[in-house]
């Protein structure tokens, strides 16, 4: 029983890491209806930038600030060069554009900073601590706290501020939002910066465990089923989806893997997502859209 709970808790905490990547995605989807495949590339880019700055001898907070500025510049560039030209195009076109964008960002990150694996120390060791006879990784707990804080801050931002209101307006109807004087371009730049910032936090937490390397950008593939289960528009959905995916994939690996063969972590979340979708086609917390002819 203890073993089961340990696997479960480990899975839940790993799921929070997936949620972190998914949240950045939800931000962009809510503010512009863009299905942003480049979120994983953003995680790689921001973590790599941060680590490379630290390795060049910058202190933590300076590196953090410079990375944030770089992310802002990236957001401006993305808005200027890509999004601005694709206003009112179909969602599939926008999705494919972010696919192209993810190639550019990945290539750029590795051209500038090199392809080797960087170690990352956050000052929190990955050693386990004991709770009622169950071992939990310190780093996992720390990430859970960070994710929790981030969700609270972002939810407040969305529901309590004027900015959040205009975000929701843009997501609902970009044309109407523009006509009442909301500046679409500014909104996009801010949202992509914030999404980049969320990606940076996710990248640092993941990087502390796995090392900062190319595989970080593949985390987007873990975040997709999370989003699909949680729904594209809900931040709390991203958290719940992450918990479900994290816990179930670890449990499946241990209990199902013995029967049908191991290594099923790659596809199991997707199979799970299909089952969820067949029951609720727009995700657990997603908004139901009504199609009109």
């Amino acid at each position: 029983m203890n073993f089961f709970i340990e696997v479960l808790v480990g899975g839940l905490l790993a799921g929070i890491m997936y949620s972190l990547v998914a949240i950045g995605f939800v931000l962009i989807y809510r503010a512009s209806g863009v299905f942003n495949f480049a979120q994983g590339a953003l995680v790689l880019f921001s973590a790599l930038t941060f680590v490379s700055l630290v390795e060049r001898g910058l202190p933590f907070w300076q590196a953090f600030a410079i990375t944030a500025i770089v992310l802002f510049i990236l957001a401006v560039l993305i808005e200027r060069l890509v999004l601005r030209h694709l206003i009112n195009r179909s969602v599939i076109t926008l999705f494919m554009a972010t696919l192209g964008l993810s190639y550019i960002i990945e290539g750029l990150a590795q051209t500038v900073w090199g392809t080797q694996v960087h170690g990352l120390e956050l000052g929190i060791s990955d050693e386990p601590i004991e709770f009622f006879g169950i071992l939990i990784s310190k780093l996992d707990l720390f990430s859970a706290v960070v994710a929790g804080l981030m969700v609270i801050v972002l939810s407040l931002l969305f529901s309590k501020t004027r900015f959040g209101l205009s975000l929701r307006a843009v997501a609902d109807d970009p044309l109407a939002a523009q006509s009442i004087g909301i500046r679409l371009n500014h909104i996009w730049i801010i949202v992509w910066t914030v999404a980049g910032f969320v990606a940076l936090v996710a990248g640092l937490l993941w990087g502390a465990r796995l090392g900062v390397q190319f595989s970080l950008s593949l985390i987007v593939l873990k975040a997709l089923p999370v989003l699909i289960i949680g729904g594209f528009t809900s931040i709390s959905g991203a958290i719940v989806g992450g918990l479900i995916v994290g816990a179930s994939e670890k449990l499946a690996e241990i209990y199902l893997g013995g029967i049908i063969g191991g290594g099923l972590e790659n596809w199991f979340p997707y199979a799970l997502a299909i089952i969820f979708l067949l029951i609720r086609p727009s995700g657990l917390f997603g908004e139901k859209t009504v199609a009109r002819v």
Binding site: T93, M96, G100, L221, I274, L277, L278, V293
Partner: protein
């Protein structure tokens, strides 16, 4: 000197209206290209051209055509094309292996059928799940298929390395095992399937696909059977991808292994149809030509500029940046891809040398 004049080319019956090429000049150009590809190229091409450029170009073009049927015509986004190719390759291999004396073409065909059935299975959620949510089932296929093929030794006949060499290419007692033979075999299959695709797209089924693509709710309300239309798109698209996969393994690589059919291959095929042109048969091949030639051009260019010592990792990253930029460029400037550029050129030739 008006090359593409349409003067006095009036269709008077349905048969001529539905021809492959309505313009006489188009027909001439088409037959000339076909004759060139079938008769002249096998005599003048070098082995390098056949095995490194022409065969992968044809196979990727066929795969692009398969995805274009699903995405470009029927509007269903798929990120799992490579999984379908893998199913086709392994199914064809197993038919060859387990049915003694089966002809190569038949095992290709059966491989395509198996892939089509698999495609229907993957497409089943498409009635209930729409838009982006659907990429989950194609991605599930993309991760599940390679896992299954490596997990269960039966598929690769318990080969220790998981890599198996494809059987000899022999059709009707003819040996196609030379580079030019592989090219001719691939080309013939591609021509046959290309014609079929053209016929399908201009059939009522093809029009139903486009109606579903443009707006499935509206299509349903005018009585188009949505589920059947979507599933047929999945089946036929998968059939094409399956054949392409079998050709990729048998005629191009000479080995059958799951590793070559990963997510990046799926993206590659998606890029082919974006760059070539969504919803266009010729676009699939233009896109494939582009994708095959770009890395070769890049590496030739870098060798010319920096000599042999060019950093491979850097080159790969630059290639990524260039691909990404091109995709965005095409999406912004020419959403209909290279196929549209070709049509523009034809419009110009219609009046040439006059401007308007």
């Amino acid at each position: 000197m008006i090359f593409f004049s349409q003067a006095r080319q009036i269709t008077t019956d349905y048969r001529s209206e539905r021809r492959l090429f309505r313009l006489k000049q188009d027909r001439w150009v088409f037959w000339a290209v076909l004759a060139f590809a079938l008769i002249v190229i096998p005599r003048i091409g070098t082995d390098y051209w056949f095995s490194a450029i022409l065969v992968p170009f044809l196979v990727l073009g066929l795969a692009g055509l398969g995805l274009n049927i699903l995405t470009g015509y029927a509007g269903q986004l798929s990120l799992g094309s490579a999984a379908f190719m893998a199913v086709g390759a392994f199914a064809a291999y197993n038919f060859q292996l387990r049915i003694p004396g089966i002809s190569l073409l038949l095992s290709f065909f059966l491989g395509g059928i198996v892939t089509a059935l698999f495609g229907v299975l993957i497409g089943l959620p498409s009635l209930r799940i729409k838009g982006f949510y659907l990429i989950v089932s194609t991605l599930a296929a993309q991760f599940f298929v390679p896992w299954m093929l490596t997990q269960y030794g039966w598929f690769s006949n318990y080969s220790a390395s998981g890599v198996i060499s494809a059987p000899k290419l022999e059709v009707f007692g003819q040996d196609f095992n030379t580079p030019s033979g592989r090219y001719l075999l691939t080309l013939s299959i591609v021509i046959l399937l290309g014609f079929t695709a053209h016929r399908l797209i201009h059939s009522p089924l093809g029009r139903n696909w486009m109606a579903v693509r443009d707006m499935d709710t509206a299509a349903a309300s005018i009585g188009i059977p949505i589920l059947r239309t979507k599933l047929l798109a999945f089946a036929i698209s998968s059939f094409y991808l399956g054949i392409a996969g079998a050709l990729w393994a048998f005629a191009y690589l000479g080995t059958v292994e799951p590793d070559g059919f990963d997510l990046s291959r799926s993206f590659q095929i998606l890029f082919i149809i974006i760059i070539g042109g969504l919803g266009s048969i010729s676009g699939s091949f233009l896109g494939a030509a582009f994708i095959v030639l770009l890395p070769i051009t890049l590496s030739l260019g870098s060798t010319a500029l920096f000599g042999q010592g060019a950093d491979q990792a850097l080159l790969q990253n630059l290639q990524k940046i260039i691909f990404g930029s091109l995709i965005i460029f095409f999406l912004i400037k020419e959403p209909d891809g290279l196929a549209r550029l070709w049509r523009h050129l034809r419009e110009r030739l219609k009046l040439w040398p006059l401007r308007y």
